[in-house]
Symmetry: C2
Subunit: 166 residues, 2 copies
């Protein structure tokens, strides 16, 4: 027993860093949420009320570190702040609806094709494993058949109480 059973423990140990309960809790929170901004992670931890309590600054520091360690990925899921999600949870697209704020998922294969073509043609290697696409979900499209001013994004957050948190 050398003492680094978990991926997090290993990654930290390999860098001479330390496995703290706070870092474990932050990672767990990201996994529990599926995806979330630093604030959402913090809120989740506070709501859970576990021990030890985790300070906001620690959440930010931990998320940055976890990203560096390759355990969580960062995407522009939220217009405001960055969202983090577990890498195990990768390999799919996030479909963010600008109408109701819902976040759906889709298999990544279609995007994989796009990525392959881009790399072939431009040499750019796109990170499609954690890609967020913005648009309108089916329900919102039905509600707004294309009337009104232009057909740009409307301002109406709170439509379909579906999956994901706005």
């Amino acid at each position: 027993m050398t003492g680094a059973p978990t991926p997090l423990g290993e990654a930290l140990h390999a860098r001479g860093l330390r496995l703290t309960p706070q870092r474990q809790r932050v990672l767990e929170a990201v996994r529990a949420l599926g995806h979330g901004t630093p604030e959402e992670v913090l809120a989740h931890l506070r709501a859970a009320g576990g021990t030890p309590a985790v300070d906001a600054s620690t959440v930010y520091r931990a998320l940055a570190l976890l990203e560096e360690l390759g355990l969580v990925a960062r995407t522009g899921l939220d217009r405001r702040a960055d969202s983090f999600h577990p890498v195990e949870h990768g390999g799919h697209l996030h479909l963010v609806c600008d109408g109701c704020g819902s976040v759906a998922e889709a298999p990544a294969d279609a995007a994989g094709e796009l990525a392959a073509e881009l790399r072939r043609r431009t040499g750019f290697s796109a990170d499609v494993a954690h890609l967020a696409l913005r648009g309108r979900c089916a329900a919102c499209r039905r509600d707004e058949p294309g009337d009104g001013p232009g057909d740009g994004p409307r301002d109406d957050p709170e439509h379909h109480p579906r999956e994901g948190r706005p």
Copy 2:
């Protein structure tokens, strides 16, 4: 002559809003930059030194309005803040390199296929006309053949002084 020759003038007039020099300048700035965050737009206007001077709050308000009018689009080009760009400039992908911060462009046709498939399979209508993809450009990939800790994003902003502004 009724008095609404430009797209901006028309859009404003149609809503009973007013065509001000500030709004014109903000739109011009976005067009001149190709794409930019509110701060970049503000900086551009200040550097240009034209008249009238535009206040930061006015830039924010104008950008939000221009987006609503469908004259500019918003994307997650910058990790920090939202980037705005002219809609006429749409129809292509933004390839944002996490290594050096460069922003290249690619034709949108490949993504159009992805969007079509998504809409077919999930009903989600993705806005691929103004899509930003994150990844590593060819130059950065060459520099970092995959050594080091995992192969997650490194922290080294300032590599290849290429196109775009980090």
